[in-house]
Amino acid sequence: MAGAQSAVEVTVTVNGVEERRTVEPRRLLVHLIREDLSLTGTHVGCDTSNCGACTVLLDDRAVKSCTILAVQADGASITTVEGLASPDGELSPVQEGFRQEHGLQCGFCTPGMLMASTGLLATNPRPTDIEIRHALEGNLCRCTGYQMIVASVLWAAEHGGATVAGEALT
């Protein structure tokens, strides 16, 4: 056990790239991602762990990055919305599903929806309509009424499921 520290070195692998930063312990993971790493696809919506716009994958599981300290993620692998598509730019099935089924209007909630949906399909590749709705309880959308989002996830389930950078996620 080290003594109490007022600045901590954090190493995270974000979208396959190892990043090292010295941060205050109070630095939130979402601020590390957006401000220190300039990956602004991850959004801050409610800032109270309700809306899910800040959802990222932490060691392949969907979590809310506004409610995790960067130091808690030290050593972890993180996927943000920027890491979903293949290296050649081909959209992941979940991203393509949202395009095909019009799963967004304003797009603010979309990064979080994509990450939560990817997390769902990683552990439940063939979810039912109701399972999708429960899996997205922590993600709020004020535009679509959710119907199109559920259709988007169903489309993704039928067209390749959860992938990150072209690789299947389980």
Partner: protein
């Protein structure tokens, strides 16, 4: 929203956590999953000057049987409770309640020990732990001691944990019989306006969510059942001895009404299982 500044200690064992708590006194707080504490710190309703991170104490995570007791490590996350085969077989109330906490992302991070030690009367798991008659095992500088769940919740966000103690595990007597959890919310992932956890069978226990400053047992209901009352009659006593507060979601009277209705539904569902 940014928490106030604090110093950070990461520990590798329960003993190190206790050492850090002894060193930093009641200025320090333990950080488990952080899904109760970090939101409070962001609102600056909690401003600890030292955080002791126990998030990597994997030996405190997991569910196992010990004879006729189910042992749940304090660092077991809600998702692990929800999907535990051991709990599904020997204590099905607990995984069901864990599955009602927050949303899937929250359940990946939040821990049962964090939820219990936080002692929020609006949380779901403390009421389940009260209904099940769990013993809470805590570790401090002079070793381990057990505290009955009944004696654990003392006031608003105040528990029997000493400032230098760490909750390490819950010991839950095997439950044979029916169970139910009735949670009333306005929106899917919200806190309960009122909720009721009930078990019947080899033990009759009823826990109430959001009916006072602490998680509560519906003692009058349990006593009435023990004395042979009809379940519906006993459920009418659910608000006895409670002191719910009013807020924008519900008046005191509505919460009392919900406690009675949800207790009746919980007891009827539990006995039908």
């Amino acid at each position: 929203m940014i928490p106030a500044a604090f110093d950070y200690v990461r520990v590798d064992s329960a003993a190190e956590a206790v050492d850090a708590l002894v060193e930093h006194g009641d200025e320090a707080k333990l950080l488990a999953g952080g899904h109760s504490l970090v939101p409070l710190m962001k609102l600056r309703l909690a401003t600890p000057t030292v955080l002791v991170d126990i998030g990597r104490l994997d030996d405190l995570a997991g569910v196992r049987r010990d004879g006729d007791t189910v042992v749940v490590g304090a660092m077991t996350r809600h998702h692990e409770l929800e999907t535990s085969v051991v709990l599904a077989e020997s204590c099905p109330l607990l995984p069901f309640v864990a599955g009602q906490v927050g949303d899937p992302q929250v359940r990946r991070r939040g821990t049962i020990g964090g939820s219990i030690a936080h002692g929020d009367p609006a949380s779901d798991l403390p009421a389940a732990v009260l209904a099940l008659g769990a013993m809470l095992v805590v570790e401090g500088p002079s070793g381990r001691r057990e505290i009955a769940a009944d004696d654990f919740f003392l006031g608003f966000l105040e528990t029997a944990l000493a400032p230098d103690e760490l909750l390490v595990e819950l010991r839950i007597p095997e439950h044979r019989g029916g169970w139910s959890f009735q949670k009333f919310t306005r929106r899917a992932q919200d806190w309960a306006i009122v909720a009721v956890a009930a078990v019947t069978g080899n033990r009759v226990g009823v826990g109430l969510v959001n009916m006072g400053v602490t998680p509560l047992r519906a003692g009058a209901v349990e006593a009435a059942i023990a004395n042979g009352s009809e379940l519906a009659t006993a459920a009418d006593l659910a608000a006895e001895g409670t002191e719910p507060s009013a807020d924008l979601h519900a008046s005191v009277e509505f919460r009392e009404h919900l406690a009675r209705v949800l207790t009746r539904r919980a007891l009827l569902e539990a006995t039908a299982r």
